[in-house]
Amino acid sequence: MTYLAKPRLHHPSLVPNELGFTRRDYEGSVSTLCAGCGHDSISAAIIQACYELDLPPHRVAKLSGIGCSSKTPDYFLGASHGFNTVHGRMPSVLTGANLANRDLIYLGVSGDGDSASIGFGQFAHAVRRGVNMTYIVENNGVYGLTKGQFSATSDKGSKSKKGVVNHDSAIDLVSVALQLGATFVARSFSGDKAQLVPLIKAALSHKGAAFIDTVSPCVQFNNHAGSTKSYDYVREHNESVNRLDVVPLRDPIHVDYAPGTTVQVTQHDGSVLSLHKLAEHYDPTDRIAAMSYLAQRQAAGEIVTGLLYVDPEATDLHEALETVETPLNALADRALIPGSGVLAKLNATLR
């Protein structure tokens, strides 16, 4: 971490976005994570994505669990309400918050301990329910705050810094999310900002459960030889299936990729995802094919990244529950209380 407070003065070269905000307006407090932590790169990518999408910062609600990753919402979007909940339970709190006010944008940030171990159940159920959210797991395969224990996403056979070999099989959150019905599934790498920023933008514009597994090396406890979540290992084994451009609805659509290598996906909110295909025949709108491809590449020791699956016709929990358009937290008394007349009639049926 740095002990230098960020300067209040804006740099003259900072360009305001459509809303007149500069990138600086999307930042938060100074990070207290270790220098070089992958998580800080993800925070930077979130800031960049929100800035580029012209989101009003205060209309984002950021929620997290407990752990290094879950501390990060303090380090971006300082004008947003944030909620650092309890370990592994961010998904339920986010679900409740989302039910209360469907008009905000919900960003859940979690870690591999938080989502794959203690909170595996909550992760699964929030995804199943199709809560409209962007759910980012900052995945370093290790418990950082408690100094280096394996997490449930550590690959079998990988070695801890102390030389201990992990004998449990790993949980692949991407495969799980696909199986559970997430309508947007991506994987990226904290060290690949060019890939990560558009993925976060696309996820934020997605209406439904959008999940991004972001491999994020822990410089203290999981960046050594023998780790499968180190900078070197991920760079060597990364197989990116596509590169993404997100074109919001209001922008004129122009794509400069060569025809035949680009897939365009229009999301529910009208935004267009332009996917520049890197892997042959990879179709990100086919869930079954995505699961099968992932399994094949995983067996070959590769980490597949990119937008792995998107359902452009996704629906969310509010649609399933058929809730009113007005946020539930804004309904007036008269819309909530049936009144004394109703009680009189009800009483008559109970005699």
């Binding site: 609600a61 004008a79 944030g82 986010l94 679900t95 409740g96 918050a97 009680l343």
Partner: protein, 616 residues
């Protein structure tokens, strides 16, 4: 006692049935027919954790005097379950009556000489008339209702009316049921004389309604403005969330769009349930969960977060027999300590203690105002006895001028006008800070919510003095809570006395009856019904004004007494526990025996104590 019992509008009928045999609706109709004749009833289901096959009982106390507690003892046993025959027979008061299906002959050794036996060949009657097995089973229940009506003087037209209401629009079913009803009535009229137990039309019910506490609490949540309900099925609370669902469909559907002004999620477990409630509460919606003791155990980490991060939440705890899985279908008041101090660290939480379904509605609605006002978890403590049994209770009332109290929420305009905002800043001296809803203002009022210690402006701090100031403020807030929750209700003895009794919740009707009996015995006791935790000064003033105070409750460890002693520095020697915790509802007989015995100096005269209470 000699000869058959002769009692009018004051006796207990108990039905012994097999679970899943369709007896529940017939039995409930029996109770309701007595009510419709203007005679109060108190009916209780005694059932196993099972869907089909195990024994189940339904106990109806017919009480012209309006004693709604369980009496104990049985004057007429309707023995429909061979599995429990011996035990059921043993429970009948001397001089009492037995009604049974006489299709199969029973040896004389299976009966008691001191009771009157009424055998009706129900199965034979049924088999002669019906051929479909399901019809045989269901109509058998209606036949015995008809037979009992004739034996007890219940007006047959009243039952016909109830059948017409139950099957409104299905004339064929009404006709078939009425026929079965008459079949039972006619058989008895030709064969037996009416029993010494008689129901006589009266006018003692008034405008009271007959309803389950869980239903009333679910309705209270609707009137309290709850929009988010997250829950996980658990006996005996399930019907509360289901009632809320039904009421929302009826009363909270937008008439123009058909859309829901509510969101109900059946969560994956109780942890997720309370997590959703906390998330919704944080975001400005009124939210609740309904659960029982094991669920509260799972929720405790979140309850601590709600306490420390100051987030409104409402938990309805429909208490059952604990600990662990305990007695899931039996009643107790044994979660008081677990809820009052739920979660690690120094925590305490307000609890509302309704006495009946009427208060389940009232407190159910009030809980949401209190949760928003106090920005913390409010428990509404029902128990299985109130929650899952129909009780005669005052009709539901609502003042249409009443507005929901959203508590201290700083608005966009106040922030815009430059009003100082510190999420945990003491402003008014009552320990309650202001909060903002997420998304309220572009650059003011945002804060980071966390379970870690923080300063008045919500910034992380582990500074000792900052922490102490904050938790001291929380104590002030708890003192404020004592002034906002419903105060105790006092009921003084007719003569001045230095003896008092404190009680709460479902103990109330049994307590009131016991007080009458004690008074008649010349034992005078002032009574105080506690309606909430934290306790107001009136509770401690009451204790100070008496030399000895009994604390009557339905748990082993005297949990209410512990709370009183702990929170008010009361000398424990002054508080004598009176405890009933076998899983059945407490009775006036039990209270009179305990308190009367401990007080001494008077001889019980009016209480029948010849048969020990059965512990099912």
């Amino acid at each position: 006692m000699s000869g058959p019992l002769t009692l009018t509008n004051d006796f207990v009928v108990k039905f012994a049935n097999v679970n899943g045999s369709g007896s529940a609706s017939a039995n409930s109709m029996f109770a309701k027919s007595v009510l419709r004749m203007g005679v109060p009833v108190a009916a209780r289901n005694i059932f196993p954790s099972n869907i089909q096959g195990l024994p189940t009982w339904y106990e109806v106390r017919i009480t012209g005097a309006g004693h709604l507690g369980r009496r104990g003892g049985v004057d007429l046993m309707v023995a429909m379950n061979p599995q429990t025959w011996d035990k059921d027979l043993a429970e009948i008061e001397p001089g009492g009556y037995l009604f049974y299906d006489s299709t199969k002959p029973m040896p004389a050794s299976k009966f008691r000489p001191d009771i009157t036996v009424v055998g009706v060949p129900l199965t034979a009657l049924c088999n002669a008339r019906y051929s479909v097995p399901r019809e045989r089973q269901l109509f058998k229940n209606i036949i015995y209702v008809g037979a009992l009506a004739a034996l007890l003087g219940i007006e047959i037209a009243v039952i016909e009316q109830l059948l017409a209401e139950q099957f409104a629009g299905k004339d064929r079913l009404i006709k078939a049921n009425v026929e079965a009803l008459h079949m039972g009535r006619d058989y008895v009229a030709e064969t037996f004389k009416p029993l010494g137990l008689q129901v006589r039309r009266a006018d003692a019910v008034g405008d009271r309604i007959y309803v389950e506490g869980n239903m009333a609490a679910g309705l209270g949540a609707v009137y309290g403005g709850a929009t988010v309900c997250a829950w996980y099925p658990i006996t005996p609370s399930t019907s509360l969330a289901e009632a809320f669902t039904d009421f929302c469909q009826d009363y909270r559907t937008d008439p123009e769009t058909g859309k829901a002004r509510y969101a109900i999620v059946q969560a994956e477990d109780e942890i997720a349930s309370i997590g959703m409630v906390v998330g919704a509460g944080w975001n400005g919606a009124r939210a609740f969960t309904a659960t029982s003791g094991p669920g509260v155990s799972l929720m405790t980490e979140f309850i601590g977060l709600s306490y420390f991060a100051e987030i409104p939440a409402v938990i309805f705890d429909v208490q059952r027999g604990g600990p662990s899985t305990g007695m899931p279908t039996r009643t107790q008041q044994a979660d008081l300590l677990g809820c009052a101090y739920a979660s690690h660290g120094d925590t305490k939480h307000p609890m509302l203690l309704p006495q009946d379904p009427g208060e389940c509605f009232e407190f159910g609605a009030l809980a949401f105002d209190l949760a928003d006002r106090l920005q913390t978890t409010i428990f509404v403590m029902l128990d299985l006895d109130i929650g899952m049994n129909e009780w005669l209770t005052e009709p539901f009332k609502w003042d249409d001028s009443r507005q929901l109290d959203r508590g201290k929420v700083m608005t966009h305009d106040e922030l815009e006008a430059g009003r100082e905002f510190g999420r945990y800043l003491e402003v008014d001296g009552d320990g309650i800070p202001y909060r903002t809803y997420p998304g309220v203002h572009p650059n003011k009022g945002a804060y980071f919510t966390r379970g870690t210690s923080r300063n008045p402006y919500a910034r992380y701090s582990e500074e000792g003095s900052v922490y102490v100031d904050n938790v001291q403020r929380l104590l002030r807030k708890f003192k404020t809570a004592a002034t906002l929750v419903p105060g105790p209700v006092r009921k003084d003895a007719r003569k001045a006395t230095r003896t008092g009794v404190i009680y709460f919740g479902s103990t109330t009707p049994a307590m009131h009856e016991a007080l009458e009996i004690l008074e008649a015995q010349g034992q005078h006791v002032d009574a105080l019904r506690v309606r909430a935790f934290p306790f107001s000064d009136e509770v401690y003033d009451f204790i100070a004004a008496h030399d000895r105070v009994f604390v009557v409750e339905q748990n082993r460890d005297a949990q209410l007494r512990t709370l009183i002693v702990n929170e008010g520095d009361v000398d424990p020697a002054k508080l004598t526990p009176v405890l009933h915790y076998d899983g059945t509802p407490i009775t006036a007989r039990f209270i009179v025996k305990e308190i009367g015995g401990l007080m001494g100096g008077a001889t019980p005269t009016t209480v029948r104590t010849s048969v020990p209470e059965a512990a099912e």
